[in-house]
Amino acid sequence: MTSGPEHVLHINWTRCDGRGLCTEILPELLRRDRWGYPVPVNDDAVERTNIPITNDLVEAATEAVRLCPTLALTLRRPQP
């Protein structure tokens, strides 16, 4: 059993313009709030800036990082 996610998708909120591409590429994780900004699909999610990415979604997350129009996303290892 893994102790935590292998990666996190870090949202740089100062760059995010709520264009919604990441919510199209990772619809199982992210949806848009009323102003267009990404918010976890899971209402109970505590972590809303460093979204945990399981291994099966790493490829999609990488695509989201690449396509974000404002370069607001990075894929990182979780900070201890």
């Binding site: 909120w13 709030d33 102003w35 900004y37 800036t49």
Partner: protein, 416 residues
């Protein structure tokens, strides 16, 4: 709770008794008064063991977050050691004090600047910092400049004037201001203790934390723990304002009852509706809970924290909803407007709570406000939306009776 000052004898190392620790050197203490009151500090001697001493002392940050002070020190030292190429650390004394209801940092910088300088010097030595900064509004910054001029060991401290906005004291905003002259928070995927000013490991401490640190470096952990409680050792500065005879800064031991603080300031707990503890990102403690001690452990079950020591007193003739609505409107205006959820969410929250406060009979407002508050939390580069959200949710909870009364067009507070 005594506030007596012990007069120091010729033995310079004898520690202070009583709770007047930070202002024992008197008003606007110059270097001579400072040395007479506290003795000399041997920075080189104290620095190597500082982190351990701080851990034993149990000093927590006095800037709002309340983390154990030694942890940040160790994090910076650790980050320095991890670097492939040698990199010097940075220490910043944060006196920005963006909270409108707080004047303790200003008071400290004006009356006990040498304690802050001492703390900055010894913390700097402990993490092998080559750059030391004090970041404070002009008035307080000038006090540090004057104080630095009175002594021979503070020449390399750079004093930077802070802007006076609510978020100016946020750690990344402080670094951004010093480095780029832009006093706005930045995205921090990695902590400042690892990568901060000019990409160097950066230690940011509130000026009061450094003042306590300076005394712990002199007198040790046991001395620090000699007042307060085991779970909340030492003293902290509080700024009390609102329904009190006069706005004051007080130094109180840990775990002091809130009601006792009120009485000391000439306020009456039985005439108090609630006290906002921790500032505009804090929580209301209602009248029935005013005997609660002011410590992290005691306040945690009520969702509160001493924070930066702000105590805003609401008289029982005042409406908590109206007071909070004004605060939220202010907070909305103070958004850095860099991050969507904060920029768009906070003004909307302000509008909703203002409508509730002014007796709008729409029964959905409360639920809408709750949803909105939960929506913005944790979705910004800094904790401005989180803190505002916390305040709003706490207000709706603590003043639930007022919310219900307002729906019927009544306010249950005795308006004068």
């Amino acid at each position: 709770m005594s506030a007596s000052v012990s007069t120091n004898t010729t033995e310079s190392r004898r520690p202070l008794a009583g709770v007047n620790r930070l202002f024992a050197a008197g008003q606007s203490a110059n270097f001579d008064a400072h040395r007479r009151a506290y003795g000399d500090l041997n920075v080189r001697l104290a620095a190597p063991h500082l982190a351990d001493t701080l851990e034993r002392a149990g000093l927590t940050g006095r800037g709002g977050a309340g983390f154990a002070a030694y942890r940040k020190l160790n994090a910076v030292s650790h980050a320095r050691a991890q670097r492939l190429l040698p990199s010097s650390a940075v220490v910043i004394a944060n006196g920005a004090e963006g909270e409108p209801r707080s004047i303790k940092d200003d008071t400290l910088l004006v009356h006990a600047p040498h304690l802050v300088i001492d703390g900055l010097l010894v913390a700097g030595a402990a993490v092998h910092a080559h750059s030391l900064y004090v970041y404070a509004p002009r008035h307080a910054a000038d006090s540090i400049r004057r104080a630095a001029g009175q002594r021979g060991d503070a020449d390399n401290i750079i004093v930077v004037d802070a802007v006076e906005t609510f978020i100016s004291g946020e750690a990344s905003a402080v670094v951004n201001a010093i480095q780029n002259n832009v006093a706005l928070p930045t995205d921090q995927p990695v902590r400042l203790s690892t990568t901060g000013l000019s990409r160097r490991p950066t230690l940011v401490h509130n000026v009061e934390t450094l003042a306590h640190l300076a005394l712990i470096a002199r007198y040790g952990a046991d001395w620090f723990r000699s007042v307060g409680s085991a779970r909340d050792p030492g003293t902290r500065l509080v700024t009390i304002s609102g329904a009190v005879p006069a706005e004051r800064v007080l130094e109180v031991p840990g775990d002091t009852q809130l009601s006792e603080i009120l009485r000391t300031c000439g306020a009456f707990p039985q005439r108090t509706a609630a006290v906002l503890v921790g500032g505009y990102h804090g929580a209301w403690i209602p009248q029935e809970w005013l005997d609660i001690p002011l410590s992290p452990a005691a306040l945690a079950p009520l969702g509160a924290h001493p924070g930066s020591g702000v105590l805003y007193v609401l008289g029982d003739h005042q409406c908590g909803l109206a007071a909070t609505a004004q605060i939220v409107a202010y907070l909305a205006g103070e958004s850095a407007r860099q991050c969507g959820p904060c920029m768009f969410g906070l003004p909307e929250m302000a509008r909703l709570i203002t409508r509730i406060a002014s007796g709008d009979p729409d029964p959905r407002l409360s639920a809408e406000l709750k949803t909105l508050s939960q929506m913005v939390a944790g979705r910004g580069a800094c904790h401005h939306p989180d803190g505002t959200s916390k305040l709003v949710l706490n207000t709706l909870n603590v003043f639930a009776d007022d919310v219900n009364a307002h729906l019927t067009g009544h306010c249950i507070r005795r308006h004068p």
